[in-house]
């Protein structure tokens, strides 16, 4: 185990930022994949330094969870996160409160501390999301206020996307007496009760007070950031809506001037309704970060991933996966082939013994088969493969009225032909 010098470790991360960020996007990677990203580095060396973890079962590497977490947190503040995600965090507070209450009632103090820590983290995440959104919105609106950018339709698409995804979903969340206030109130009540219960334990008391004050401070900060984001974006959004209408109408007016109006119409229609350029804005928000680096934010994809992540860690139970190996004949082809019928028949006889009613068996085994295929299959079994009667078995079964058909593949019992 190599003793890691924190300063050098951080310096290494800074010097290889692009590489580490690329790796942080990959959950696992092979030696070859690693060398494609970082040809000058040795994965084993990085594993020794504690940056990578080696997974012997699959001979793959992954970024050390601490480093991944660090990058996720750093990147989160640079990205717009969905208001729906924040809503999930708010709901999560409610569940955590219930868990806290349960721990308190059963005097499970260790679990209580764990839940308290989760609660603290959830509040931090809410604040971090809202603050991150405010930063991203400010960067974006700063871009709009500066140099020419994109035209009315694209501006409207970007601003509309921010409004619909980041602002609108939180409408009502941060209002006085809204869900966040309700949660805060419950935290206060619970913590006061819990404080009484752990009297005499200075550390526990301190943690409780700390969490409560932090919750108050952070939610107030999140509320302020949200309101500030609204103040920042609303006037621009309203202006963009007006400008888009004017620009569209202006183009329509100009188009109307040309004799060949039919030819001009699609251009007008594209301008009026088209989304070709606007889509760039909807699915990504180009912005210049503080470091001057141009980035194309993709709130949709990153949010989806995060929502899934949060849901997963938040008691989400996915639906059972589809059954890949289906029961025999469940996907019987509509057009039966000899091979399929022969194989199924062989299996049926091996498992259940002779087939007494061939037609019934075919219908049951291949429910999706058309009537003509059923008859054809019946023909294969009875006429084509029926072969010669086995005199021995035929004799044995004579009394039962059955006829045993001997076949290179299978033997079967058939009703005796009337002669």
């Amino acid at each position: 185990m190599v003793l890691i010098n924190p300063r050098r470790f951080i310096q290494f991360l800074a010097d290889h930022y692009e590489i580490i960020e690329s790796l942080s996007r990959m959950s696992r990677f092979t030696d070859t994949e690693f060398r494609e990203v970082a040809p000058d580095l040795d994965p084993e060396d990085l594993t020794r330094k504690g940056l990578l973890d080696f997974i012997p079962e699959t001979c793959e590497y992954s970024l050390h969870p601490t480093v991944s977490q660090l990058f996720r947190e750093l990147n989160r503040k640079r990205h717009l996160s969905s208001g729906h995600l924040t809503q999930i965090h708010v709901r999560k507070l409610q569940v955590l409160l219930e868990a806290l209450d349960r721990c308190h009632r059963h005097r499970m103090w260790y679990e209580f501390e764990v839940e308290l820590e989760s609660l603290h983290r959830a509040i931090l995440e809410i604040n971090s999301d809202v603050q991150g959104n405010l930063d991203a919105i400010r960067r974006q609106t700063g871009t709009f206020r500066g140099e020419p950018w994109g035209g009315a339709k694209k501006r409207l698409a970007v601003l509309g996307s921010i409004w619909d995804n980041q602002i609108q979903p939180l409408e009502g969340v941060f209002v006085p007496q809204g869900p966040v206030d309700a949660v805060l109130e419950q935290i206060e009540t619970l913590l006061k009760r819990a404080e009484t219960s752990v009297m005499g334990n200075p550390m526990a008391e301190g943690n409780l007070r700390h969490t409560y004050f932090q919750a108050r401070r952070l939610t107030r900060s999140a509320r302020d950031a949200h309101m500030e984001a609204i103040r920042e974006i609303r006037p621009l959004y309203e202006t963009a809506k007006r400008n888009e209408k004017v620009a569209t109408a202006a183009s329509a007016l100009i188009m109307g001037c040309f004799e060949n109006r039919k030819a001009a119409q699609p251009l007008y229609a594209e301008r009026k309704n088209g989304i070709s350029h606007a889509l760039d804005g909807i699915f990504g928000i180009q912005s210049t970060a503080n470091d001057g680096e141009e980035r194309f934010y993709t709130p949709f994809s990153s949010d989806e991933a995060r929502i899934l992540l949060v849901e997963r860690y938040f008691g989400y139970r996915p639906a059972p996966p589809p059954i890949l190996v289906k029961p025999l004949h469940a996907e019987a082809p509509f057009v039966l082939t000899e091979k399929v019928v022969r194989q199924a028949l062989k299996q049926e006889i091996e498992i259940h013994g002779p087939v007494l009613d061939v037609m019934a068996w075919i219908i049951e085994a291949f429910p999706k088969a058309a009537l003509k295929d059923v008859i054809r299959a019946y023909g294969w079994v009875v006429l084509k493969w029926g072969g010669k009667a086995d005199p021995v078995r035929d004799a044995v079964n004579r009394k039962s009225g059955m006829r045993i058909i001997s076949h290179p593949v299978v033997s079967m019992a058939l009703p005796r032909r009337s002669t």
Binding site: V246, A249, S251, L253
Partner: protein, 184 residues
């Protein structure tokens, strides 16, 4: 029926009755009008005219003359808006925050726009283009300088005008009426 003499009554009356729009930029005239809005509304109402107070910060009289070259102004503005939008500018921001130099206007320098100006307004020269701007200045939508002009707050009405003209059928009718407009 007698009306009290209102502050700057004569100047305000003359300005509004000739179709001008008044905003904060007009200084004392505007404040006199704003501070005596109700009295002025009654005054003009007595004459069968409606004083409009636009919430965006300007006054005008409804029912006064429409510019004879309203259609020219319409296409002039449409081209300016489309061009500015194509350049990536926020329209309200750029229109109210810029000086426009005649030599830089796209109306005659771009073939497509030049065609529109000729077809719709019969404008082929820079002088004719200046004429459109001068007529806008009469209504105080713009302030002109020797080689440039800038828009005043009442130019919001030009935005409204374009927005309302979106109906293609209306445009067609407008086109069929020919290049000459007329006083209302």
């Amino acid at each position: 029926m007698t009306f009290p003499v209102l502050p700057r009554q004569r100047d305000i009356f003359e300005a509004l009755i000739s179709g001008r729009h008044m905003c904060l930029e007009d200084g004392e005239l505007f404040t006199a009008l704003r501070d005596n809005e109700d009295d002025y509304r009654a005054l003009f109402g007595g004459l069968g005219l409606e004083l409009i107070v636009d919430p965006r910060g300007f006054f005008f009289l409804n029912g006064t003359r429409t510019p004879a070259n309203m259609k020219d102004i319409l296409f002039f503005m449409a081209i300016l808006f489309e061009y500015m939008d194509e350049q990536g500018y926020s329209l309200e921001e750029v229109v109210f925050g810029s000086d426009f130099y005649f030599k830089d206007l796209p109306h005659l320098s771009h073939q497509r726009y030049a065609e529109v100006m000729e077809r719709a307004a019969g404008v082929k020269t820079l002088e004719a283009l200046r004429g459109i701007v001068t007529s806008m200045a009469r209504y105080r939508f713009v302030v002109t300088e020797a080689d440039s002009f800038r828009f005043r707050i009442p130019a919001h009405r030009l935005f409204d005008l374009i927005r309302d003209a979106e109906n293609i059928q209306a445009q067609n009718e407008l086109m069929e009426s020919g290049p000459d407009g007329g006083d209302q």
